[in-house]
Amino acid sequence: MRLDLRLASFCAALLFSHAALADEPLPQRWVSAGGSLSEWVVALGGEDRLIGVDTTSQHPASLRALPSIGYQRQLAAEGILSLRPDLLLGSEEMGPPPVLEQLRSAGVRIEVLPSKPDLASLERSLRRMGELLGTPESASRVFADYRQRLERQRQWIADAQRSQKAPGVLLMLGHADSAPLAAGKDTAAAWLIEQAGGRNLTDHDGYKALSAETLMVLDPEVVIYADRTQKGAIDPQALLKRNPALAATRAARDGRLLALDPTLLVGGLGPRVPDGLAVLSAAFYPSAQALTAEAAR
């Protein structure tokens, strides 16, 4: 039922977007409000169209040189208008609504693309971006390639699971020295863990601090640590020193502490997700041969 609805809306979107685009010139000046959307624009070869991005657009690093339009939910109409954009691209989270209304009445085309982490949403978004960039074929190629990589990833996990049970995984979101928050079952982190073949251990919603005792009861085999300030590899000694409760877990004893770029956790399926998944699943199933980016292609 849900799939039918989704398909129907998908087809409708396609129809309308084609009709709308038929007699309009392609937008040349783009503003993007949404980390993974900006990333996809770059991946589809549209970086030179971008004239402004929001604060969640951190990848690739070259985007940070563009004018910042602020946080995606607190956009300012006149600030965006001062960039003279043709198009504002964003997710459903973009707002506030009165500002979008003002932009629309000023003649800025506003594209709201889904940010849910599922392939149907991604396909819709990529197709739309391809049309707006004037390169629909390359966009569908990129999508096909992406789907294939996720498919291979799934198979690889299925293979690996024949010889090894799915590990129990906990993702902790840290920020500098504050107590880390554990990702709940409804978060993008839980989705990433499941996709990488792990078993998310938490039962709460959102990101919450866990007590030392809960941590011991959960006893994760793998702990993923996403630190917003720390880029790159983590220092396990320092991490355990700051969070002594972690030291009692299997993950710490077996040295299975992983670092993850926290920007992977926001904005749905970005272009870096397959690589991230490959790294995670390689760590989840150490005995299986790693599915590296090269091997996947």
Partner: protein, 345 residues
């Protein structure tokens, strides 16, 4: 008491300041418009029959973005400053603030409810959804203030001291409830809450402006009628009664005006601190404590100050925007400290 001599130059200066702030607020923004276009568009907005050729963008930016925002800033600044005067009069303390009677914390509680649980109320009619936050903030402010007022009443008399304590207790209680909601909230919701707590005039539209404008005009017309009574109240409650004023009714009116004014301002623009505290204080330094001067002068100064702060908010990080609460706090907090130090010496 003959304030006219000193009041006239003050009113002229504050009037000019407000005109300047209004003009800057209309003429400056991240989009730079040529002065001539701005002027023409402004005159056309005033209804003058000028040709509008080539002015589409200027008219849109002036008419749809800057004018509603400027009017919002005008109303919020004026009503916050007036409420500050009313509270400093009610508590007979120049350091009182509209937040004391719980209106701000109540509004914050209402807003937190709306932000955190609003998404789960999927069944709201489309037309009402954007007003949910404002409506909840307004209702929260009025609700908590009513409670504070009820706690302060005993034997038909309102004890200002009890109200102050009840305000502190209910503020703490609201804070705890907000804390609970933030614990339950997800990341993006938290961010929305944070931004709301810092206030902003962003996204002003005429539709959301009217309720606040009406409240502001009502408060701005009503409070000056009580200027003499407020002066007498500064002597003390029984002194004011001996001078023939109906003190209980006056206190009720002051609480009501403040709850209504601050509630509407917070609902329209989020929490904007320090205007209600600092502006009356500043005006008192210039013109003395006579409410016949203090009330209108504070309204003028509050509106001007908020418009100028908003100008900074939208220009300094353009094309992004700073929350205006950050600017008012950056100006207000050091000024407050200066007042404290000055009072001590």
């Amino acid at each position: 008491m003959n304030p006219a001599v000193h009041a006239r130059p003050l009113f002229i200066a504050l009037g000019l300041l407000l005109l300047l702030a209004l003009w800057l607020s209309l003429a400056l923004g991240p989009v730079s418009l040529p002065l001539q276009e701005t002027l023409q568009a402004a005159l056309r907005l005033l209804g003058l029959p000028l040709s509008g050729a080539g002015l589409e963008q200027a008219e849109l930016i002036l008419g749809q973005i800057r004018l509603p925002r400027t009017l919002l800033g005008l109303a919020v600044g004026a009503v916050l400053a007036l409420s500050g005067v009313a509270m400093q009069g009610l508590f007979r303390n120049p350091l009182a603030d509209p937040g004391l009677i719980g209106v701000s914390s109540g509004a914050a509680l209402g807003a937190a409810l709306a932000i955190v649980f609003g998404a789960r109320l999927g069944g709201l009619p489309e037309a009402f959804a954007p007003y949910l936050l404002s409506a909840c903030a307004f209702a929260g402010g009025l609700g908590v203030t009513t409670l504070v007022y009820r706690f302060g009443r005993r034997n038909g008399q309102t004890s200002v001291a009890t109200m102050l304590l009840a305000g502190i207790a209910l503020t703490a209680l609201s804070g705890a409830a907000i804390g609970l909601f933030t614990y339950l909230a997800d990341d993006t919701t938290l961010r929305t809450l944070t931004f709301w707590n810092l206030g902003s005039l962003n996204g002003a539209s005429y539709a959301r402006l009217w309720p606040l404008l009406i409240v502001t005009i009502a408060v701005a017309l009503w409070l000056p009628r009580r200027a003499k009574a407020l002066n007498a109240l500064l002597l003390g409650e029984s002194e004011a009664r001996h001078l023939g004023f109906a003190v209980e009714r006056l206190k009720r009116e002051l609480v009501f005006c403040t709850a209504l004014g601050v509630g509407a301002a917070v609902a329209a623009a989020g929490m904007i601190g320090f205007i209600g505290l600092v502006v009356p204080h500043l005006v008192r330094l210039l013109a003395g404590p006579d409410h016949r001067v203090l009330l209108p002068a504070s309204a003028l100064a509050g509106a001007s100050l908020l418009l100028l702060a908003d100008l900074v908010a939208r220009l300094v990080m353009a094309p992004a925007e700073l929350p205006i609460g950050i600017i008012t706090a950056l100006i207000g907090a050091p000024f407050f400290l200066y007042l404290l130090m000055r009072g001590r010496s």
